[in-house]
């Protein structure tokens, strides 16, 4: 069964450094999402992406964040200058179409900022 994959599974970085989290959505999916979950808290929406554009973003998704689909398979989340409070689990999700109500989640990348 096709699944969303994410790399790395765990990333440790120093405050102020740039990180790129990578996701490979399910191959025929068209809508892509990033969510994050700070330890012990709920899952929060960051951004949705369709047709090479951001379709919606949350207040959390400020100028230090960016997303990109650099080729036909990868979907990346870049954090330009990491802060301690960016430490969280980051989940990528994909959806097949605009009429779909189901999002398929990857296993997550745990980001630790020291």
């Amino acid at each position: 069964e096709p699944e969303v994959t994410q790399t790395p599974s765990h990333q440790v970085t120093q405050m102020g450094q740039e990180v790129i989290l990578r996701c490979v959505p399910i191959s025929n999916h068209l809508y892509f999402y990033w969510y994050r979950q700070i330890l012990g808290q709920k899952v929060e929406f960051l951004v949705s992406f369709y047709n090479n554009e951001i379709s919606e973003k949350s207040e959390i998704f400020d100028d230090q964040f960016s997303v990109e689909r650099p080729d036909g398979s990868n979907f990346t989340l870049k954090i330009r200058s990491t802060k301690l409070e960016d430490s969280a689990m980051y989940f990528c999700a994909s959806s097949p179409s605009g009429t779909s109500y189901e999002q398929y989640f990857g296993p997550g990348t745990r980001l630790t900022v020291t």
Binding site: E44, F45, Y50, S55, E56, S58, F105
Partner: protein
């Protein structure tokens, strides 16, 4: 404002006992409801979903949920829990297709032998 409320942060229950995890959502003309499960150190797995039709939906692992429009609730139930059901359960809502999912704060289900 669009929101999901899970009233219980933790629910302890004995093995083979029934369980109900409560969820309420902010009302809207159209709403699509989900329950996700997160096992320790793992990602999110869809348990079940309500899109339309029958208000009682059945999911994986013997779970079911009932959509109650008048009470804006979508409670999750299982008649007899197993140790392997120990996990965090998230209620979630979507207000239109291909839009963001809004998650509740989660309920930690702990099963006692």
């Amino acid at each position: 404002a669009q929101s999901v409320t899970q009233l219980d942060s933790q629910v302890p229950v004995f093995e083979e006992a029934p369980v109900e995890l409560r969820c309420n959502y902010s009302s809207s003309v159209s709403v699509y409801l989900f329950w996700y499960v997160q096992y320790p150190n793992q990602g999110l797995q869809l348990l079940l979903k309500y899109l339309s039709g029958s208000t009682l939906v059945k999911g994986i692992n013997g779970f079911e949920a009932e959509f109650n429009k008048s009470q804006t609730s979508f409670h999750l139930r299982k008649p007899s829990v197993h140790i392997s059901d120990t996990a965090e359960y998230f209620c979630a809502v979507m207000y239109s297709s291909a839009s963001k999912i809004i998650f509740g704060s989660g309920t930690r289900l702990s099963i006692r032998p």
